[in-house]
Every structure is written in C-alpha cells, then in structure tokens.
Amino acid sequence: MSGTFVGMPAFPAAAREAVRDTTLRGNLRHATHTIRAKRARAVAELEDWERLRQAGMRIKDRTLRHLDRYLVQLEESVTAAGGTVHWATDADEANRIVTELVKATGESEVVKVKSMATQEIGLNEALEAEGIAAYETDLAELIVQLGKDRPSHILVPAIHRNRGEIREIFTREMGEWGRPAPEGLTDTPADLAEAARLHLREKFLRAKVGISGANFMVAETGTLVVVESEGNGRMCLTLPETLISVVGIEKTVPTWQDLEVFLQTLPRSSTAERMNPYTSMWTGTTDGDGPRAFHLVLLDNGRTDTLADEVGRQALRCIRCSACLNVCPVYERAGGHAYGSVYPGPIGAILSPQLRGIGSEIDASLPYASSLCGACYEVCPVAIDIPEVLVRLRERVVEGGEAVREGNKVLLRPAKGHAAERAAMRAARWALTRPGALRTGQRLASRTRRLHPRTLPGPGRAWSGTRDLPPVPAEPFRDWWQRTRGGKGDAS
C-alpha cells in the first residue's frame, strides 16, 4: 500500500498532473456536482438550518475552549462503562499502542471501518510492518486498498475511479487477499457491490479484532458514535471480541443532547440524506452484546498545536462532512491526491499545515490551494471560516511568526520558496494600480500571442503552475470597445 504521503510534490506540481488527467477530472466533476445539488435540497428541507449551524459551531467552540475538562470527563465515563482509555501524543505512539493491543489478543489480522484518524497516522502500514494484516471494509476503501492507491475524497475515497477501473481492480486483486472476484464479473455497480459483499463477509465472520474511528465521543456519557451507510461499520463494531477505536481528541462533544444537532447536520451535509442508513452508538462494553473488550486511543498528533492558534483553532470544529470539497473549484479540478494528505480540499488546506506544520514544501503550498471564493465557508455545517484561516496561514508562510510545534513555542521564518509569491503579489499590485501599464501589457500580449508559452515564467509560475493559461484574445477588450463604439462612448 502506498498510503504514505511522504515525499509528495507540492500542491502546484501535483495539481498540474491532475488537471491533465481527463478521466479523473470527468469523474470528479460528475461527483461533486451531483452531491452539491442533492445537498442543497436536503438542507433546504430544514427551515432552522442556519440556527442548527450556529448551534453546531457554538457546541464545538465550547468543547474546544474547555477541551481539557471534557477529555478528563470522557475518560472517566468510558472507564466507568467498561472501556480502557489510552493517550497518544503522536502517530508513532498511537501505532505502538494499537499494535500492542492487537498482539495481546494473539491475532494477526484485523477488520477496519473507514477512519481518517488511522489513515492520518499510517496505522495499516505500521500493523503490516509487525506482521498484522489490516483489511479495509468500506467499499471505497476496499477499492483504494486493492488498487494500492490513496483515497481522494473524505466521503467517497475512490471517486477518482470509474466502474471499469473498479472491475479490473477486483478481478486482478481480490484473489490475492481472500475470496476472488466471481467469474465473469461485470462492471455494473450492483455486481461490483455483490463481489465486495462476498469477499468481505468471509473476513467479518472470522474477525476477532475490529478497528474504528468515531464521528463523535460524548464526554457526559462516554458514548461513541459511528455514522455510515453500508453496514461494514456495524460488522466491525459488533462482531469482533476486541474493539479498538482511534479518535482525535477534537471529536469530543460535551453532552448527549449535543448529538441532536450533529445528527441533523452531518448526514444532510455529507451524503445529502435526511439520515445515513446506519448509525451505531456504544458506551463501553455491554454484557452479551458486542465486543468484550473496548479500547479508546485518544490521539493528539498536532491537534493541541492547532488549538494553540486562536484563529486556526476553528479548523478543529470540522465534522468531516466533505461539503466543502464538493463546492471547491480548486478541488474539482485538482482532485484529492494533489493535497498530499488524508484531508483533501479546503479543509485539508487548513488542517494539514496546522497538524503537520509548514516545514515541508507541500504543507507550505497548501494555504495557496484556494481561490478564496468563500463557497466552503457557506456550506460548512459548523461555520468554519476557511478563507480566514487560509489567509492566516499564508501570512505565516510568507511573513513567519509564532506557532506551537509539539507543544513548544517556535518562531517560524518566512518560507524561502515563497519569495516568488511575494514578488508576484507586488507585481500584481503594481499593474492593477497603473491602468496604462496594464493596457500596454495587454496589447503587447495580443500581438505576440502565438509565441506564448503555456506557463508563465518567473514569479508567475506559481500561479500558472496550477492553471492552464487562457488563450490571449486577438484583440484586447479595450481596443475592441474603442473600435466598435469609438467616438460614441467614453471608453478610454
């Protein structure tokens, strides 16, 4: 599995590859436009949507502003209900804890329900290194895993694959991992789903250890919530003897009642349904129903550093609905892989650089992977002002400043690679405040247009690197206006 993102090229380079891939772009456009339209209808059904959105924002803010208290309360509730709580400061520690827990059961395979937290820490690879096979059971994750691929969307991770490609992957790979794909498998979605059902059922029925994430954790009661559609979640959460859940500390909500807000806003924002087909809630262990042992691994891995930034902190409100991806013009063209992280799209552009810092080229480039159009803020069910955080992070990249890394205050220096960006900004300001120069430049561009390269040289490269330059018109608009309306109107 090439699930790791280490060594990814920076966003502009990765996006340039992606926009040339017409299959990918076609699949993505179809997906994002379909979900976008459906979501708008589902949201319109609730006349108090805006109030629910505000309440969601306030509940999450309240949680984050008193996270220490709620985490301690959560730990107490889960423990009282028969669970065991572990704390992990980073990916390595979380992976170590989970590996040891699995080893203690004597098992060498686990079934997994889709979890972004475990993808973030590279758990599957860590388990594999210790001789433990981890099977992804969400249909899309299965496609990704069998295709030795990386997920490209929060909600529909295999959205970059069409049915023909999926059929090919199943036929080629299923036999390697367990039950092979049926003879003569067609590419109809129903047939492909049936092949997945048969392939995975074999694994569910014998699994002794399940691994999950969670959408919410209720501090007051110790209840964990997993929202899903296929039933693979229910399989992983109830059939095994041991359940291990790895959850980011920001997934906490204070009270049972708080769920009434998110269970209304999450499904409508994400799959555009009134309610997703299955939601499981469990509190510790229950005698005679489900796993006998339950372990909760609370994951920091950069979250407390994110919490330290008063503007950037709001990114931790995210409930991973993916609505912001589906409205983002940059995501639609570049695709999820270009973001070099398990968190793609607008939320990825603000979350990854905060969780991981802006030390690498990809992370420093992510705050620029946006046109700042604001559509992501409009749809976000917890009202995260993504453009505000993007601007904040750009400032950090360009100007440097204070930040917290692994709990320690650090002083960031301006990123070198972005000197060009600053130059580009200065150039734009210069041109825009001098109309004469702009006009001359445009005329010159028209006359020489056959000689133009597809990318801009010098400081402009960062901009044109993610876009194809529009062809320059044969005649600048101002000239055309002069010629056709010359003398009649004021067109200077």
Binding site: A193, L239, P277, G407
Partner: protein, 210 residues
C-alpha cells in the same frame, strides 16, 4: 510525564487566552420538531420517509399482525427465522419457518445461515424515516438485525413514533448499545450510483401496527 499529562498540559497551555471560569451556555434556538402535524400525520410522514429510503412499509392492526408476518416470510421462503428472546410470541404464532434464537454460543457464521429476522424497535423517527433499536428483549443483540439478508421490524404506532431527532434522543438511554437504521444498507461508492445491500440486510420491511 506520561502522555496523558503531556496532552492535557498542551491543551491547557494552548487555551491560555480562554478566561478562567468561562461557561457560556450553548443557545439552542433551533426547532424541536419541523412543522405542525397531528399524530396521524406524523405516522404518515414516517411511512413516507421510510418508503423514500426503499424500506417496504406495511400497515396492520394487532389482530392481523401474525398473518402479515406469516405472508411476508412465506414470500421469501426461509427455512429458519431468527427471533430475539423477548419477541411477543403471538407475533410469530402463524409463521411457518422454524424459529431460532440467537444464543451466546452461536457464532456469526451460524447466524449467516439464517435468511430472515423479526424484531421490535425502541423508537421510530418520522422526519428522517429512522428506526432505532436499543437491544431490549424484543430486539435482541445488534448482530441479529445485521447478518440476515431480510429484516422485518415491527413498530407500534403511534406510541413508538416521534417526530424528530431531538425527540428521539430524549427517549433513548445512552448506556444501551443503539443502532439507528434508515432504509436498507446502501452504498454510492461506485460513480455515485446507489446500490442497496452491501453488508447489512438488503431488504428492510417495516410493519406499522396499531
């Protein structure tokens, strides 16, 4: 210092800007229920939303219930039907297939041999078309409504019906294992075409009994 202390310490330092003792209550000015409906209309809405999510909805009364269950099972012809220990015996009094119980020693593989399951429910949510199971004796363990391919769920109307998600949560006990079911198992992972039944039951039949 262990990781717990380290993380809590980082959280506290990160929140230095938050005034000590701050405790702003969350304002809940959203609705408890969407729209005005009579009890009848709420039940109708439940039926409509269940059907919209491709559950098959039937309506009957207590007297007819055993015959309806018998017919629904006969249509699929299973040899065995799984029933939770506390299912009212009269519900199954007319049914032909052999009843099997989910015992502690039954393995998931054994349950996989059974095609149909009949359960009650704890609460049904009209606005979303959702059934909630809480593991009470008439509903059984979570796995029994998951492994068989055909689930018949009986809802007592109007007692077990609420209008909205907030009202459902008020009625539920968080210490029980809860399963919220809205239509049969489904996926839209392949080019966003909806396909029913990946792992959970592919057919969900809901009986609204008065």
């Amino acid at each position: 210092m262990n990781s717990r202390e380290r993380i809590l310490g980082r959280v506290r330092r990160a929140l230095a800007d938050v005034p000590p003792g701050e405790d702003a209550a969350v304002e809940r000015d959203y609705l408890r229920e969407h729209g005005e409906r009579t009890v009848e209309e709420t039940v109708d809405l439940l039926a409509e939303n269940l059907a919209d999510y491709r559950a098959v909805v039937h309506r009957t009364d207590a007297e007819e219930l055993p015959y309806l269950i018998m017919r629904l099972l006969a249509q699929r012809g299973p040899r065995y039907v799984l029933v939770p220990p506390g299912l009212p015996p009269e519900w199954m009094s007319a049914a032909d297939p052999t009843r099997v119980h989910d015992r502690a020693v039954s393995t998931p593989r054994e349950l996989d041999e059974v095609e149909s399951v009949v359960t009650g429910c704890a609460v049904a949510v009209a606005e979303t078309g959702t059934l909630v199971l809480d593991g009470s004796p008439d509903q059984g363990r979570r796995r029994i409504s998951l492994i068989p391919d055909h689930h018949i769920c009986v809802v007592r109307v109007p007692d077990q019906v609420v209008a909205s998600v907030p009202q459902a949560l008020e009625r539920l006990d968080p210490t029980r294992p809860l399963t919220w079911i809205s239509g049969p198992s489904a996926t839209s992972d392949i080019e966003l075409d909806r396909v029913e039944g990946v792992h959970g039951p592919r057919t969900l039949e809901v009986v609204l009994v008065r």
